[in-house]
Symmetry: C2
């Protein structure tokens, strides 16, 4: 058995998220089906760096799996891509040591959230951005984003359904960049809770439209209550961009 570290990209529009569920099309199931096909029916379990929700995309999701096959390493992507559906692509596969774990070994993750600001919607962007035509004050949003940096208890900024006990995470970077009508918010942190990026974005948009003050962010953290923060922004604007390991 050899262990492989595999980077995949997927268009989340037609998936009920990453994780396998009965009777729903998921990324994990499609990958395990493709691997079973390659292994003549043998079930190969894959482990990802984390889940992504329905309609959420990935540019650089990382998974690991073990295989008894002796396919030369450079042939793995071609072999898998020829079986996988077109909305999942294997970008890279590397040999890794038998202890490597896609989830536990991740030291940092990057998410990007795409917001389309034009007054008129664009049919080509409907599955790939969040259309927000209401006008935003970027300076206010940037000020608020700075108050989200550092180590905090993110209880207010994750779904009330979050099962993880420890909700302390460190946000290393948040950058806002706007090109024409596309605003991209980039989040880099050591870990992210359920719906965390989407709630941070929803809150930033409420600051951007003047419904909250940038200076109100510390008080939201202190409340440790989901209802203190803004709405959960739409899933189709979110991309798991990159997972970093040591």
């Amino acid at each position: 058995m050899k262990r492989y570290k595999c980077t995949i990209s997927y268009d989340g529009a037609q998936f009920f998220g990453y994780q396998i569920q009965p009777n729903k099309r998921t990324v994990q199931e499609e990958i395990e089906k493709a691997l079973a096909n390659l292994h003549k029916g043998l079930h190969i379990r894959v482990t990802a760096s984390g889940r992504t929700d329905t309609k959420v995309h990935a540019k650089g999701q990382v998974i690991h799996f073990d295989s008894p096959l002796s396919i030369p390493i450079h042939k793995w992507p071609v072999a898998l891509n020829s079986i996988l559906p077109e909305d999942i692509t294997v970008v890279d596969i590397k040999n890794t040591d038998a202890q490597f774990h896609a989830r536990f070994d991740a030291v940092s993750k990057e998410y990007r959230y795409f917001i389309y600001l034009n007054k008129v919607r664009d049919p080509f962007k409907r599955f790939y951005t969040y259309h927000f035509p209401y006008g935003v004050d970027l300076q206010e949003m940037e000020e608020a984003s700075k108050l989200m940096l550092g180590t905090h208890d993110f209880t207010s900024f994750c779904s009330a359904k979050t099962e993880t006990e420890d909700k302390v995470r460190t946000m290393k970077e948040i950058t806002l960049s706007k090109e024409n009508d596309m605003l991209v918010i980039r989040f880099v942190g050591n870990g992210f809770l359920y719906n965390m990026v989407r709630i941070l974005v929803g809150t930033l948009l409420e600051v951007g439209t003047g419904r909250r003050e940038a200076s109100s962010i510390p008080a939201i953290f202190e409340r440790r209550d989901r209802s203190a923060a803004g709405k959960t922004a739409a899933p189709q604007g979110l991309y798991l961009w990159k997972v970093d390991y040591e």
Copy 2:
């Protein structure tokens, strides 16, 4: 009754082309349904600059229609977009004189064809570009494209099923531009026949991969036979970009 000139954009992925057909989802049907809704059931017929095929996109298709309603002109796009499905957007509506005709008055059209050259497919581009990972010689393609300019009988470069008698058209511009792995071929002409851009692109790609000489183009025109030209390139790379009127 007032006549309106309306510019629309649509993602062709989920349409069986522009023109109404029984039991198939088409752009024209969705627009006429939206107009009927706005007119309390009154059927308003729309006329486009021309058809587009299944999976082909439009950034600037132009249609005209007549309406008895007296909606202020700036409210028309909002009114229609709130009814239309998300894969069609009204970009602009203007009042026009009662003689304006979206098809007969068009003096020039621009199409763009998007070719994704990266070796590895991209799940986000599968409905919006043609993936062509085989390597192309751009200089050869450019040379061939120059021989397609001017006034020609395009019989070899249109579907054998084309019903139009007169197959003489004038190609005003063809430009190739490559940014990273995306090659865009832009065609501007006074009129285009059925499948014409896709057959021109298919032929250019055969030149680009060395299966034809650039210098063979004039002989293809002379043959006046569809089988003399290259394959019809895939529909999802094609966009009706712009229609010009006097």
